[in-house]
């Protein structure tokens, strides 16, 4: 991947994703944090596109930016008397240290390891291949996932239902 477009796109999207993620930490208002989280999700979707994973990118926009974030917004609004200031607990410093250590460790591993890269091009079309894989090779996990979704749906309804 060394054509100009890909490189520019990668750097712009990375900066957008990580910058938005940092803003999630930094902003003082929880609603702003959710909106920056959405921006970060969209940046990740863009990164998927540069990796020629179009189906996953669209699914990311559809589910994360369109559905999960709206759920989060609803949760924030349904808890009106809770603090909306996006503050930290006493675990701020340990959390920061741990997060830095994890970043350094993973980064080091990522750079040091020889990943045995295959020289290969982009996928021509992923949607069909994913569909076939889901209904052929991964049909059992697929069914289990649907059961999980059903269970989650019923669970959420039972939890929040007024009676």
């Amino acid at each position: 991947m060394d054509d100009v477009g890909s490189v520019v796109a990668f750097w712009m999207l990375s900066v957008m994703t990580l910058g938005a993620a940092v803003m999630v930490v930094a902003v003082r208002n929880l609603i702003y944090a959710v909106l920056f989280l959405i921006l970060s999700f969209i940046g990740v979707a863009g990164l998927y596109l540069t990796l020629s994973a179009d189906f996953v990118a669209i699914a990311q926009v559809l589910i994360y930016a369109g559905a999960v974030s709206v759920l989060i917004l609803f949760a924030v609004l349904l808890t009106p008397r809770a603090a909306r200031d996006n503050a930290e607990t006493f675990l701020q410093v340990p959390g920061l240290v741990l997060a830095t250590l994890v970043a350094v460790t993973i980064g080091a591993i990522a750079l040091v390891t020889d990943w045995n890269e295959a020289t290969r091009g982009a996928f021509p079309e992923t949607a069909g291949a994913i569909g076939e894989a889901l209904l052929d090779k991964y049909v059992l996990p697929f069914e289990i996932a649907s059961v999980i979704l059903l269970a989650a749906m019923i669970g959420a309804i039972v939890l929040v239902r007024e009676d």
């Binding site: 669209i58 930016a65 917004l73 609004l77």
Partner: protein, 413 residues
């Protein structure tokens, strides 16, 4: 195709642009054609949308005028055709008020962001053969995904306004969008099952190849998509997010001037987008059973698009508004089960067709008739099942009495 494909042949607007790109590719750096094609395509789409908007803001008001036994705008220019231009000037020159306690950043960002998803939808819609900005192979999914993102700017507008009515309107809109996404996706899935592709051009090509429109094979899905689309564009039968008799103007209560203009314009753009999606997916896009050889495909496509938009205008002139819980109930209790049955039937039919290697000409008319009958039966039966039939004891008109003093009340009356 009998097209000459000379660069000046406007039957395919891609010809001149292609020539331009060819020239650029020959003489400039290799990324230049991409950039130029993207810019030219985007500008074309925006110009097309703005022109359509100016035209239809006037057409809608004239048509509504006819439906409502009045004249409609008739002062600015002949038959009032310049009314929309006058309106546009008014929007721009009016003061865009920002109240003191609003959340400034979001209040300003929302009207700008709200137009983005709608504009992006047009990137994957083919205006003619080859006249598509980005022929994504997941076009159908893209349209749905982008449509689901519109909830965010609307929420931003409602929340940042610091107004109860705005917030209520925004929450209603978000809840509606989420609920109607499901039937919408399932309605489009039926098409994908038949066409075997999610590429918009592929779907159009499939319809062209089989000499049919998917509206015949998927009548129920068209209806579901039309209803869900009406909800998404927030026009009258379902405009509860800005129901003026309840919550003043919903999420754009606090907006004025060009900021309100952006919401207003986005509503029109979204209407065009839904009409364009239906025209592409269910009505054969830029094809018309061979006529596209003589008439430019983009004119056929625009004719279908505007025809469908006329349907939205008609609905607006006729129907009252549902209550929010009724609208949500309609999505979950009515549209969703029907969409599920529809997708099941579509899958079954395609299975029968493919497994037995039947000829398309033989099976497709049968499927069309079967699905039409099924759609009618399902709608009636499901409505009965949900108890939508009129209570038999209740008279359809007021009772007429001559004597006074008594009380007729209740069931047996």
């Amino acid at each position: 195709m009998i097209f000459l494909a000379e660069w000046w042949d406007l039957r395919d607007l891609g010809n001149p642009v292609g020539k331009l790109l060819e020239l650029l590719g020959d003489h400039g750096p290799d990324w230049l054609p991409y950039a130029v094609s993207a810019i030219v395509g985007s500008i074309t789409i925006v110009v097309f949308l703005l022109v359509s908007l100016l035209a239809f803001a006037w057409v809608e008001r004239r048509l509504l005028g006819r439906m409502q036994a009045r004249l409609g705008p008739n002062r600015v220019g002949p038959w009032g055709v310049f009314q929309s231009i006058a309106d546009a000037i008014k929007f721009v020159t009016k003061e865009a008020i920002t109240s003191r306690n609003v959340d400034r950043w979001m209040f300003w960002a929302a009207p700008v962001l709200v137009a983005v998803p709608v504009l992006v939808v047009f990137a994957v819609l083919p205006f003619g053969e080859g006249m598509v900005l980005a022929d994504l192979n997941v076009g159908v999914l893209f349209v749905i995904a982008v449509g689901s993102v519109t909830a965010i700017p609307i929420f931003m507008a409602g929340w940042s306004s610091n107004n109860k009515f705005s917030l209520l309107g925004a929450m209603r809109e978000v809840a509606m969008l989420i609920s109607y996404e499901l039937p919408q996706v399932l309605a489009l899935l039926g098409v994908v099952v038949f066409a075997g592709t999610m590429r918009m051009n592929g779907i159009v090509g499939w319809q062209d190849e089989h000499n049919t429109w998917l509206i015949f094979l998927q009548p129920l899905a068209v209806l579901i998509y039309l209803i869900a689309g009406t909800v998404e564009i927030n026009r009258t039968p379902t405009d509860i997010a800005e129901a003026e008799s309840e919550i003043v103007a919903g999420y754009h209560t606090e907006y004025s001037g060009i900021k309100f203009g952006m919401f207003w314009l986005t509503e029109y753009f979204a209407g065009f987008a839904i009409a364009a999606i239906i025209a592409t997916v269910y009505l054969g896009g830029w094809t018309l059973w061979g006529l596209e050889e003589w008439v430019p495909g983009w004119i056929i496509f625009l004719a279908k698009l505007y025809g469908l938009f006329w349907l939205f205008i008609w609905m607006r002139g006729t129907l009252p508004r549902l209550r929010i819980d009724q609208l949500m109930g309609f999505a979950w209790k009515f549209l969703l089960p029907l969409a599920l049955i529809n997708i099941f039937v579509a899958g079954l039919e395609v299975l029968i067709w493919r497994e037995n290697d039947l000829a398309a000409e033989a099976v497709l008319p049968g499927f069309a008739i079967a699905n039409l009958v099924l759609a009618g039966v399902l709608i009636v039966a499901w409505a009965r099942f949900l108890g939508r039939a009129r209570p038999s004891w209740r008279p359809a008109r007021a009772r007429l009495v001559k004597e006074l003093g008594a009380v007729v009340y209740g069931q047996e009356g």
